[in-house]
Homo-oligomer: 637 residues x 2
């Protein structure tokens, strides 16, 4: 097959690619990220690229995603274009995501630890040295001593530990430091036998495998001290932006293996970075704990997630057998154990179990709502006595999908927005600093814009623009009525940055799905919003969320602000806690078992609640009295 030179702008990166390969795949091979919310199915239109010169075979023409004019100018969908000769391609900013934000960001979270009792610990074992009258073998002597003096019957000695045993014992007067791993329903394992003389770093790594981002941190198990977190874009994104498109991709050819390779490479890179920063070697890592949604955990293990999206929606694994991290391709000692957080169901995953662990919901008396907002939104309601959970398919609006200029929270994204009723003008803030030109709108930005416009009367309760409220900014665009956020000249785009009524419809659908989820879950246990004593927001999305605005649009229930708490990357925090405490890892299992999964789609009232929620903030005005008073100008925010 003939090879052709493809040049990607603005990097000017040149790659050689065989005829017939999709441009999406060529970019992926060149290490250039192009958005692909739908997994390369040609249905999301977010992989727009511009053919500057040369030729491509395109499977889709003008229509859904671009006008005849745009098509003539060279706009194409990268996933629907195939190499047939040399070509020069421009990738516009809105078709990219900037990974640097995630790589540089750092979180500081409070880890509230009840008891330091890590799953891996060092145990000094003192053996009676052998004599002529007592020449029991080293291993047998060790097993006997562990049984008699440490109450450890038949621990599993890993091969690496076995091989270092004779020398270690003799260099230490028949003492040794045994690195011991003890998990429920497992024999104790001795991972390493080392000198009692030298200081021995003992670290775990906690990893949050998110659909969009992957976060990891090291934890000093000797001190009980978690280190800073490092994150990166999940490398699987080029194969699809949400779990469904990943599942679809995993079912094609070697898709599963490729997805697995990507996430393994991600984690290895993060671990390398963290270890380098901490001045540690891989051998210091004695435990890996991962938390992710059900699909991410499957893909990491290389286990097919196909049945997650086929009725009756059965994951291959909710709890996980004992595995070793090296078996899954992580560059750690062969003995290092891997714990994967258990899931509740196909759509309530280990990240939520970890989040509930991190939130403390499971041990507190107050009736609490725990939510993780996203394309797949997860909801937990309960307290120390009972817990129920549900997943609701909110759609991709919170993550920039289904929104004309939607994007992830990366540089160039509008995330803050203020509307001034007096002069009918707005100001906006863009991620990336003052010089950064806007190129799109991230999820929290969308909420802020819609809330401000609604509170100012520029949007009505149906989510339609009120022309007379801002006649200079509201206009008829190519997709219907739109609101001008920034003219082209003030953006990093080749056209005006606008918000359309279709975007708002999508956001209303998304927030309504979440809100009606809370209502249905509460109703299932005979309660209402008024019974809620706490609302905890976990997950990456909540970080930049303006609570008042999220209430204003009806995403969050209208409760006093002090009842809300944002606990950051609760999935990573939960994984960290489990690494630090064997009892908290056991608690994770208890939480998983205690979370009654509720299928919203099987509940008739969910659809009623959903329909009623398709309004700003809600059709039922008694649920949002203060918000409506603000709209009427009765109370200042």
């Amino acid at each position: 097959m003939s090879e052709h030179q493809i040049i990607f702008k603005p990097e000017n990166r040149t790659v050689s690619a065989p005829a017939g390969l999709s441009l999406m795949e060529v970019a992926s091979r060149a290490g250039i990220h192009i958005n692909a919310s739908c997994g390369g199915e040609g249905v999301c239109g977010r992989c727009r690229v511009e053919l500057l010169s040369g030729q491509l075979r395109s499977e889709s023409g003008p229509g859904t995603f671009f006008t005849t004019e745009e098509y003539a100018k060279g706009f194409r969908l990268a996933c629907q274009c195939f190499v047939e000769g040399p070509a020069e391609i421009n990738i516009p900013p809105e078709s990219r995501a900037d990974a640097s934000l995630y790589a540089q960001a750092e979180e500081h979270e409070a880890i509230t630890l009840d008891t330091l009792n890590p799953l891996v610990r060092n145990l000094t074992v003192e053996l009676t040295p052998p004599t002529e009258g007592d020449n029991l073998a080293d291993y047998d002597r060790l097993v006997l001593t562990l049984d008699q003096n440490h109450n450890l019957a038949w621990p599993q000695l890993e091969l690496a530990a076995l091989l270092e045993m004779p020398t270690t014992l003799r260099e230490n007067g028949f003492s040794a430091r045994a690195t011991l791993f003890e998990a429920p329903n497992q024999p104790a394992r001795i991972l390493e036998l080392s000198s009692t003389q030298a200081a021995q770093p003992l670290y775990a790594a906690a990893v949050d495998i998110g659909t969009t981002t992957v976060w990891a941190r090291l934890i000093d198990l000797n001190k009980g001290q978690p280190g800073p977190a490092r994150g990166d874009l999940n490398g699987q994104i080029s194969f699809g932006e949400d779990v469904i498109s990943r599942i679809v991709f995993s079912g094609k050819g070697d898709g599963l293996a490729r997805l697995r390779e990507r996430i393994t490479a991600n984690i290895n890179q993060l671990l390398d970075l963290l270890l380098t920063e901490a001045g540690l070697s891989r051998n210091s890592l004695a435990l890996i704990v991962t938390a992710g949604n059900t699909t991410m955990s499957h893909l990491f293990a290389g286990l097919t997630p196909q049945n997650i999206r086929l009725g009756p929606y059965v994951p291959a694994a909710a709890t996980w057998p004992f595995l070793k991290a090296a078996e899954l391709g992580l560059n750690v000692r062969s003995s290092t154990p891997l714990l994967i957080f258990p899931s509740v169901s196909s759509y309530v995953g280990g990240d939520i179990v970890a989040g509930v662990l991190a939130s403390g919901l499971y041990k507190q008396p107050e009736l609490t709502l725990f939510i993780d907002v996203g394309t797949n939104g997860e909801i937990v309601v309960g307290n120390q006595d009972w817990m129920t959970c549900a997943a609701c398919s909110a759609g991709p609006a919170f993550e920039g999908g289904g929104v004309k200029f939607g994007m992830r929270a990366a540089p160039g994204a509008v995330d803050q927005f203020y509307y001034n009723r007096a002069d009918r003008r707005h100001t906006l803030a863009v991620i990336g600093g003052p010089g950064e030109k806007p190129i799109g709108i991230c999820g929290s930005g969308l909420i802020n814009i819609v809330a401000e416009l609604f509170l100012a009367g520029v949007l009505d309760q149906r989510g339609k623009f009120v022309l007379q409220a801002a006649p200079n900014l509201i206009r008829q665009g190519e997709d219907g009525v739109e609101y001008l956020l920034r003219p082209q000249a003030e953006t990093g785009l080749d056209r005006d940055l606008v918000l359309t009524e279709i975007d708002i419809e999508n956001l209303i659908r998304a927030k309504g799905a979440m809100y009606s989820g809370y209502q249905t879950l509460l109703e299932s246990v005979g309660l209402t919003m008024n019974n809620l004593e706490r609302v905890i927001i976990g997950g990456g999305f909540g970080k930049s969320l303006n609570l008042a605005n999220a209430i204003a649009i009806g995403l969050l229930p209208e409760l006093p602000i002090e009842k809300f708490a944002y606990i950051g990357n609760s999935s990573l925090t939960g994984a960290t806690l489990a690494a630090l405490s064997r009892s908290l890892w056991e608690t994770a299992g208890t939480i998983k078992d205690g979370l009654t999964n509720f299928e919203l789609s099987e509940t008739p009232s969910y659809m009623d609640y959903y329909m009623a929620s398709q309004f700003l903030p809600h059709t039922q005005s008694d649920l949002f009295p203060r918000t409506l008073a603000r709209v009427r100008g009765e109370a200042a925010s």
Copy 2:
């Protein structure tokens, strides 16, 4: 470093080798075996080679191992010569061992199996298929079913089985055949999940890792049927012929790794051969059981055996942790478990525990002596109620060491010998068939020669030749008095084949060490030879042993012939039995624990018995009345 061409004759095999490399190592790299009883220490003299042309740097001159004349002719020790230019080398027959005998040989043993209950078995598991109201994950469903219906709590699911689980379950109506491994003190392990539809071969491999030879067989676990055994020379032989020289070698540089690689390659080759012969794939192998002496088991695991030969003689492992065969480099599925037979002590190894298992000694009322004759001789005395064991260092005479023309039982070895008193002539038989010219004497051959000469009065009780009994064959040789077995012209040698008085001294020391071992062990429990009801001979050596001759020289006690039994490769048989029966594997542990190890060297009476044994057959004539009657010509054999 410069490379030189080294040509080995008679194969004409040419290899390129760097200057400075020993000729022994060059030959090893070329795949040509040269004897090295001492492990390349330059002290055994069994690696004689002939420099035909070119140059070698030799570290030893004429003296101990060759005359000035021989040295001038080009004779050198391969281990003491180093490459310094191109050279042509001849390897004479006595410096080789013929591996083909072992590769071609086949054993047929009766496996007496009490109960077919293999350590690995197939279990059909029927799950309730999931429904919308019951969408428990596959793995959780499997764990629940195994617990509820099969009384298996928290089995370990191997990664390979996990990954094949979702598809297997759905292709089989939520049934599956679980390949289950259950060993004591271990969680049950599911090695594989396969279709219940197709026939599924399920095999174990039993492996006997001997110091000299390695034997293996496949066992059909579905039918409870062991297949034929295949053997090969232990590839470690080039690094030393006995356990002590291997231990020494393992302590030098990467010696341990090289020894491990050799035995791993040996076993992989045997498994490949067996699988090919049986038309099976590697995936059929669900279990590997090995039995070997303590040193061989250590070397196979890559575990240092150094402390076996350093006081207080403590092996690194007597029992072994759970290991997987692939971890030790065997080419089998990653999930295939490996069981290593437990040892009693540094010198009473897993081969003896397996041998006792195979012998049935442990469950029979008769007082039984079980012996494995070799450089390291092992002795077990006992019955169903008690067992005691000892190792005695017999020296290498039984395996051809310390004997001028000693060699292993390979083609060219004299193994049968008959002396005719009438014409004062002898006949002898050589391994390898009628055309084979003698080049040496194997252990059983040595016993037969000495016994026949002794019974004929050619040797006296002190092991000295009686000149007048065979004046034409007894003469003064370079090493003292010798007996001419064959003149040079009738041999494959460049000199006469003789037996020296020194050879006989070494044999007397060896047989005396064994016999005084039986006496000391029996005495330790207040018994004597007369109490013995059975004598069982295990190990490879016994195969060609002439019982009457072994009694005549005092190696075996003088008991009625019907009390003796030879049970072949008892180590391999024991490993086979353990693979076939979980309870017999547990019995192996019981045997190991029940074998009281007795240190002969710490018993003062052992030395007395040993001194008394340095006679043919023994100084104490009442122990061998019938043998002495034969010598006097009173009874025909």
